[in-house]
């Protein structure tokens, strides 16, 4: 079932929108990353992600993930009463969330390196090189 993000939304950080499957796979660490700068409410997180090229993330996709992150202890929450309007729930990163984010970023970087290495390996092979001539990426836990 597709994530309800809008892949056609303009991405300021990326040259073109990422496929929705990528956004879906990276959603949890992306939310944790958006909170690295300080606590945000749900809509603020959605805006921060949109500004980073993750497309317009609808509430239907965002809050169940936030609930899971809260359950896992990666974010803490605080309800802030609204003045005249509905209140809002602020999300803040916990120490476990910070560690999870660092771990996920390292895993994604390793994945990118492994992808690049595969291409380099192919080119080296075409030039008569061997797989051993291509530097292997640092082993990481499989990307979440």
């Amino acid at each position: 079932m597709p994530t309800q993000s809008d892949p056609a939304a303009p991405a300021s950080a990326a040259a073109r929108p990422w496929p929705s499957a990528w956004v879906r796979a990276a959603l949890e660490p992306a939310i944790l990353g958006a909170l690295m700068g300080g606590p945000l409410h749900g809509y603020g997180i959605a805006q921060a992600l949109a500004a980073r090229g993750f497309g317009r993330l609808r509430g239907g996709s965002l809050y169940p993930v936030l609930a899971r992150l809260e359950e896992a202890g990666h974010v803490s929450t605080r309800w802030v009463e609204g003045q005249g309007g509905p209140g809002r729930k602020d999300y803040a990163l916990t120490a476990a969330g910070r560690a999870e984010y660092a771990d996920a970023v390292a895993s994604f970087q390793a994945l990118g390196a492994a992808l690049a290495a595969l291409g380099a390996e192919g080119e080296a092979g075409a030039d008569g090189g061997t797989a051993e001539s291509v530097p292997a990426p640092v082993p990481q836990e499989a990307a979440r």
């Binding site: 879906r24 239907g60 965002l62 809002r88 729930k89």
Partner: protein, 354 residues
């Protein structure tokens, strides 16, 4: 989902046939038995089992060997589907008044079997049948159906505490009424005959239950207004009802989810239906509060256990009255069942289950 998975019984048979090992079918049945009480949508259950079956057929290895214990695998698959943004939970309305007669007949059919066994042991080979023998299971089934349906319907619209009050107000006169009716029915003679007539009573209820199942209207009607977009208040009402009834969320937690959705919709300037989609599908993306559900079930079972133990204690205190074996059985079994439920609750809320 574009594929058409076979229905569950056929799928289970295919597990047995895949390697000719009956234990494979037991594994699949145990997995299905874990999915279904967790209210996982049937199409997800069928899809996951179909994929597991394909792996068994291709590898020639057993499902236990490939995937580990069935219950753990089922939990993991449901959690993964939920993490991938799928609507995992079945959020269809559980029980309606329209289906209540049918449900009551089926429950009566199920009740009539153990009651027949109890009556047969109690009364001996030749029985003076009364209307109590015939209608005991039906009266209890009607009470149970009314209470459950009242709960299912009220929790969709009212808070948990208001629902408890409403159901208690409805249940008390019913239970008291049944308490007067059942002894009176037991005193209304019908005929004297063989203990074998119990089989006819069981068969009669099973037949009526099956007939009701086929003839009486059921719940599988499509949504009356699928094309209409509900306004924010109607949307929030449905979301709250599903969170309370299907996910066992507390009133405070429901309020938080609904208020957060309202705040998000207000900030985005879009209606809640547009921002969150169908409220049932949105609710189905959250994880149910299994610990809370099990706690309430454990509390109810503990109350039943206290009743049976109290009944036994009263019989023991009254030395003139003979001791009923079913009272002893109830006083032994119900505390054990309640203890098991508390144990399940402790496991569910433990941060390190297993």
């Amino acid at each position: 989902m574009t594929r058409h998975e076979p229905p569950l019984p056929a799928l289970l048979d295919r597990f047995a046939a895949a390697r000719g090992v009956p234990a494979d079918q037991d594994w699949a049945a145990a997995a299905a038995g874990r999915f279904l009480p967790d209210d996982v949508r049937e199409e997800i259950v069928l899809r996951e089992l179909t994929e597991a079956l394909a792996a068994v057929e291709e590898s020639g290895q057993g499902p236990e060997e490939l995937f580990g214990p069935a219950a753990d695998w089922a939990r993991e698959r449901a959690a993964e589907a939920s993490a991938a943004g799928e609507s995992v939970l079945d959020t269809d309305p559980s029980l309606t008044w329209r289906a209540a007669p049918c449900n009551a007949l089926i429950i009566a059919a199920l009740f009539s079997v153990p009651f027949a066994v109890v009556f047969a042991f109690r009364d001996g080979l030749t029985v003076d049948y009364s209307w109590g023998h015939v209608l005991f299971s039906l009266v209890l089934a009607v009470v149970m159906t009314v209470v459950i349906t009242l709960w299912s319907q009220t929790i969709l619209r009212r808070s948990f505490s208001a629902t408890v009050g409403t159901v208690a107000a409805g249940a008390v006169p019913l239970v008291v009424g049944a308490g007067f009716l059942l002894p009176w029915l037991s005193e209304q003679p019908l005929f004297t005959g063989s203990v074998g007539w119990h089989a006819a009573i069981v068969a009669g209820y099973l037949g009526l239950g099956a007939l009701g199942f086929w003839l009486l209207p059921r719940d599988d009607v499509p949504d009356a207004t699928p094309a209409q977009t509900p306004d924010d208040d109607a949307w929030a009402l449905v979301l709250g009802g599903v969170l309370r009834s299907k996910l066992a969320y507390s009133d405070a937690r429901v309020r938080e989810v609904v208020d957060e959705a309202r705040a998000h919709a207000a900030a985005s300037g879009r209606p809640m239906a547009e921002e969150f989609g169908n409220p049932q599908d949105y609710a189905a993306r959250f994880r149910p509060d299994r610990g809370r559900r099990l706690r309430w079930e454990a509390i109810l079972l503990t109350a039943v256990a206290v009743y049976w133990v109290g009944k036994l204690w009263a019989q023991l205190a009254d030395r003139a009255a003979p001791l009923d074996w079913w009272t002893v059985a109830g006083a032994v079994l119900m505390p054990l069942i309640a203890w098991r439920m508390w144990r399940m609750h402790r496991r569910a809320v433990s941060p390190h289950p297993g």
